[in-house]
């Protein structure tokens, strides 16, 4: 079930994103909980709209952009009032879109692990030629923000 579209999905794939430039936008959580239903609504100011369809957005194959979007499938359920209930099976960042009147509006939700399953958060540091200590120190400092608590030092990957 790669494409979890709810009607008009093929058309929607080619529609522009308007979410940030008009008063119409998706309202819903930006952070979610794994396996817990999340509700999204398409709003025009304080008025809820009933979109033509909802769908999940993916980055394409051979994606060259910077955006983190999972291709794990959200479980999507369109509700009678026009809202969407989405449930994330795995901790990732997901994108959804509502299509209405020929326009597509997008939103993203991050689902972090409820508790980190990783007992040792390991990053590998590659050391296989002459060391530039200034460069190495800057790389280590940047990497320290990722959340790893172990560093593997080796060579030749």
């Amino acid at each position: 079930m790669r494409l979890v579209s709810l009607g008009l999905s093929l058309l929607a794939a080619h529609l522009p994103l308007w979410g940030q430039t008009t008063s119409v936008a998706i309202s819903g959580p930006t952070r979610g909980v794994q396996a817990q239903p999340m509700t999204f609504r398409l709003m025009n100011g304080s008025q809820q709209l009933k979109p033509d369809s909802w769908r999940q957005l993916y980055n394409p194959d051979r994606y060259l952009g910077n955006e983190y979007v999972s291709s794990f499938d959200l479980q999507l359920q369109a509700n009678g009032d026009g809202s969407l209930t989405a449930t994330a099976p795995y901790p990732e960042r997901y994108k959804i879109a509502a299509v209405q009147g020929g326009q597509q509006y997008a939103a993203a939700v991050v689902v972090p692990p409820t508790t980190s399953p990783v007992k040792m958060k390991v990053l590998s540091f590659l050391l296989n030629s002459q060391l530039d200590k200034v460069h190495a120190a800057s790389q280590i400092a940047l990497a320290s923000h990722i959340g790893a608590d172990w560093a593997y030092v080796g060579d030749s990957f």
């Binding site: 910077n66 999972s70 296989n128 190495a136 990497a143």
Partner: protein
Amino acid sequence: MDLNTPGSYTYTDQPGGWCNANPLSDVAWLVDELHANGFKVMIQPSVYATYESIVDQLQLFLPGAIGTYPKVDLSQVPALFNAWSKMAVDLATLMAQHQAEMFLPGTHDTVVDSTTSDLWNATAATMLPSIRSVYKGQIWWGPIQQCGDAFPFDYSLVDGIWFSGLLVSASSPPCTFLSPPGLNNVHAEQMLSFIRADRAAGSGFSVGQKQGLPMLWMDFNPYPIDGMNYVGSHWAGMAGIAHGIASDMVPTDPGLRDFQEPVDYLDAVMEAGVVESSFQAVAVNSVYLVGPGFVNILEQPALLASLTNWFGGDWNYTHPASPTPRLMCCFRYCP
């Protein structure tokens, strides 16, 4: 280690003209720097050798090792292992001085002849207690391949096992590396199914459980290359053959880049290996310490954000869509 003069095998700390290895003083500096940034440190030494004008990892010159390299005579293998053992104990002594938390000596994935593997096990049986006499951190052993041990080993000598994910394919049947080839346009759901099948079929995945030891998934390479989910770190050779990628620094075909595939691969491996199985972690390759490279995880924003989500790191620092993506300044392709 220069193997050209039988009977006088010794390891040399300082690199010579034929060898680009780092001196142990650099490794010691690195341990201190990593500690200063909040990391615990695990060290795995490698030894390079030169033999008959060829330079590569030492174990590739052992009797029975795969490949076309010349092999040292079996009579010289004890001296070679003794030299390795001295290097390992010397490095352990240095790591004890710098309080590195884990040491991974040796290599266990090279298939050699049975006499050589027996000699290596005999060496390990004396080397590991010698290391423990000078070093009080954890000692882990490996790598274990997904489809089983290259040769038997006494795991009661060590504290944990590292598993090589090098040949784990996320889009082809288990234990069939590159034959048949995997899929290029494959998504996280499909990758997860393949890796679950790998896990069910490969005896290497369960060695830790059988031995009662923790296990770490290593050699995991989420490179931004179309098809990397099945070629892994062999892409430079294998993908080069298939796709014409000639160099890891100067891609010949930018159209073969794919920043989404490593994200999906990472997520599928985390789910199958850590969440659903008993691995302590997936050790993600790599932060480059020696210069830029497109496989450097610090130059892959999408992957970096995914990893930060799994590790519970500073999302505002690493995610490009965050209100204050402070790490963006290091991405060479961003303004």
